[in-house]
Subunit: 138 residues, 4 copies
């Protein structure tokens, strides 16, 4: 069982009411969980800024008909294979593919991989979601 | 005196320690104030999404030597004068000016003004900071 | 063969040099591809603002030991099954799982799903990557 | 007269049409200016990441009735006076003030100032807009 730390928070009435309305709309069942998520969101940004090991999710959208694009993307992924945990591929329609590449490593390496993939000719969209390995986020 | 609402928050020990370390680094004196700021940041995003009256701060950087640029920017500001509270102008160096335009109004109007200013030929940088009128953020 | 439209762009020398240095660092082979990516990034933001059909990638990190968490997340995903294309699950370490849920639909529905998943007790991190179906981004 | 560099860009027809529609909606008069703004936006992000001298605009919203808040904020600004170019103060309503602080310096120093101001008890909203000194952005 993890140790739990409790503390009190005071909010002015109007701020408190607005917070609860937003919380309910987002689907939270209690204030503690909503506040934990705000805190964790802030901490994950710091993990990236400080170079801790992170998890990153790269999303690519591309047209698989583009000449040699699929093999280029595969080559790059092999070059960075130590960072990549897995890849998932979706056929969005006749032309467009969406690929999700789950990575773990140092932020600068993960970012370099994401930029290499995104800059490949024929990739229409590329974004790196800066996630977390979850360690110590309780 | 505003009414104050108090409630308890529980965090697992490790999350709590990380939160306090980050809080201290940012200069917060107590947990309540740090949590109020996280909550308010989330609420301000919603004010913009929901079309409530907001305050917006437009920052422009431009070269005042560009032909007729200053008069174009002034014309646009007059066209939107009902949105603009004040304008401040800084001479960054021999060529570059930084101008800050403080606005209040509906989000879509404030955004349209920011895009018009930013798209003016000769403006090197333009950004809208989505702030708040502060109402109800206690 | 898609029809190609060509046009000229003029940049001042110093801006042009900085652009090329950044482009090379990111791995672009030519200016056109770098500029196409900047344009597409801007267009994808508009797809989300205007309610067009989009693709969204939801990333969750959670501790699978938390009581009933996995079954809650599965229930929510079934409730929104018409939005979800596929789900991929990674075991980051003994406790932490990373789950990627690929969705397609209207932006407000995709955002509601992401908020429901993120607000579930025990989810440590949740983020929606606002991607695209790739249609018309040539 | 600055030297101008020209080059051609090729876009597939559908992408080109979408780009022009968005460009017109934002108020651009020609493609070159729209593309220069996309490039500069990308370069300004890099200035911050690389620690070059930047301009930063800090926006604060606070209730001036809060005990000693105004004098605390003034004290902090004096402590960082070498970073601050000017401050502008707006009375939004009976209670709320909006203050804009224009700064120039290294990114980490500007960020530290923004966090100190934002974390002061009674400040409802604080945001740092990461702008530029405009140097070399032609």
């Amino acid at each position: 069982m993890p140790q739990i730390k409790r503390f009190g928070v005071s909010l002015e009435k109007e701020l408190s009411e607005k917070f609860e309305a937003l919380m309910v709309r987002k689907g939270y069942k209690n204030r503690s969980e909503a506040i934990r998520d705000l805190i964790r969101g802030d901490l994950v940004k710091k993990e990236w800024a400080r170079g801790r090991e992170v998890a990153g999710v790269v999303t690519l959208v591309y047209d698989h008909h583009k000449r040699e694009l699929v093999s280029h993307l595969t080559d790059i992924q092999h070059e960075f294979h130590h960072l990549i945990i897995s890849t998932q591929h979706i056929h969005l329609d006749h032309d467009n593919c969406l690929e999700v590449i789950i990575t773990k490593g140092k932020p600068d390496k993960v970012q370099a991989l994401a930029e290499r993939l995104r800059s490949t000719k024929g990739v229409k969209y590329g974004l790196l979601n800066m996630a977390t390995t979850g360690k110590g986020l309780g």
